[in-house]
Symmetry: D2
Subunit: 156 residues, 4 copies
């Protein structure tokens, strides 16, 4: 069975809420999911997963330093996690406030890892963006995201 890591950092709880929705959605689809805060997990676990879904609040238009630190440490597995399926999500304070570039920057880091990155047409294209607390729009978008991620995961 395919196994996915939902990895996130959260201070206010908004990104965490999104992470939980994503983990639940994937579980409902029959995917094995580990839901972890970035502080709870070591990069040594990365190779065991088939894919990663990574979320961060928007700090200055990109991921929080806590998430970047994890990604920097992941250099230890450079060329060893190629082909994993990656998607991103974020919560942010305001429209136009840099949330899209958070998702794009997370994908960019995993393109460098030689991963396979997923875009979306029925939600924030680079991944769902919550403006503050996740609302119904975000819930719907996460459900679309999970559908597509699970479907592609099966094929690769």
């Amino acid at each position: 069975m395919k196994k996915v890591l939902v990895l996130y950092y959260s201070r206010t709880g908004n990104t965490e809420k999104m992470a939980k929705m994503i983990a639940q959605g994937l579980t409902d689809k029959g995917v094995t999911v580990d839901l972890k805060r970035v502080e709870e997990i070591s990069v040594d676990n990365l190779p065991e997963y088939d894919g990663y879904i990574i979320g961060s609040p928007n700090y200055f238009g990109t991921m929080a330093a806590e998430v970047k630190k994890f990604i920097d440490e992941s250099v230890k597995y450079y060329r060893k996690i190629e082909g994993k399926l990656v998607a991103a999500f974020t919560s942010t304070g305001m429209i136009g406030g840099g949330g899209e570039t958070v998702c794009l920057d997370i994908l960019k880091a995993f393109l460098i890892h030689g991963c396979i990155c997923l875009g979306f047409t029925r939600l924030g294209h680079y991944g769902p963006v919550s403006i503050g607390k996740p609302d119904e729009r975000v819930e719907r978008e996460i459900s679309e995201m999970v559908n597509k991620y699970a479907e592609v995961l099966k094929r690769i």
Copy 2:
């Protein structure tokens, strides 16, 4: 007196509405403004301005081809428009739909021209992003944008 080009492309009229608000705001601040659709102006006019404010609807997370064509043609004035003051704006269909990267990509093109690019703290950071028709939020953001742009323009 400082002279600014507000340049835009618009199909649905949303970006055009924003362009008009910006032009009006700058005029009210005592700046000389030319408001032009991208089809109405030649790159040969670029050197005569002290700055550009450039807007495009979001097509695939970046500016419309019509705006990109104008920018490609502007290579004729490469190294001849260094130091102009540049800001960007966009209208898009949905939150997370790529609007932020439109503004960022416009700024990026003018960083390559050696221009001076402006970010914002009281609005979409890379420039105002309208979700569909410009509403009161966008109106307020444009007013903040105009204040800052005019203030920096005076100094450079």
Copy 3:
């Protein structure tokens, strides 16, 4: 058999040389390839392929307007080309001259199409970047790119 479109725009011939190397490499791997200049093909052909490899010279840190025009027209097939496998390549004038962001912007546009985007570890991470005429480094990188693209294509 899987069928891939290698699509490019080229003025000086550098991007074209890269396109031909990629098409040849894929053909050698048993993939059916159509090699097309962006002016030679209509967006109506997009749905028939399993993937796209798209190249553009670097004009102002992103794709040429000719490529952007094609992408803008592809909105006609929005939500109809989800899941296609996409990679990018570019030729540029100088190191640090914006070549990387060309590849990244092409990928970004196809993330918006809901496509699956590929990064690399043994070459320019967002796709091969030629500095001027493709040299041996670029040849080697294209060979790595083709290997990985063909391998992932088989699985999805």
Copy 4:
């Protein structure tokens, strides 16, 4: 007299070499310069400068976590460092390896701070990019960068 912070993180010493060249160049132009490793300085010092030139090695296509941590902490001075003049530089392992996006991401963070960001025409457009140890090309580029930065700094 104008005062500039040259701030960097470096592990191999390449980014540090670039930082020293930039600091020396600015000093020769009569600018007061503080040259600091990111670990040596607090965000509390940010308001006292007229501008920042920020360098990081390329870790996964963006700044090192150490630099991002500093930027995250700088939120304390949000809206209090608007209008500072910002430029970026990086050292990276290979062409196409993500160096350009390091510079662009640093600028992006300071656009969010409402700063004024500088692009270049005679060097890496978003800032100088060293491939490994800084060579003569990089030295020449840094000299051009310093000229332009010092010239714009005088005016703003």
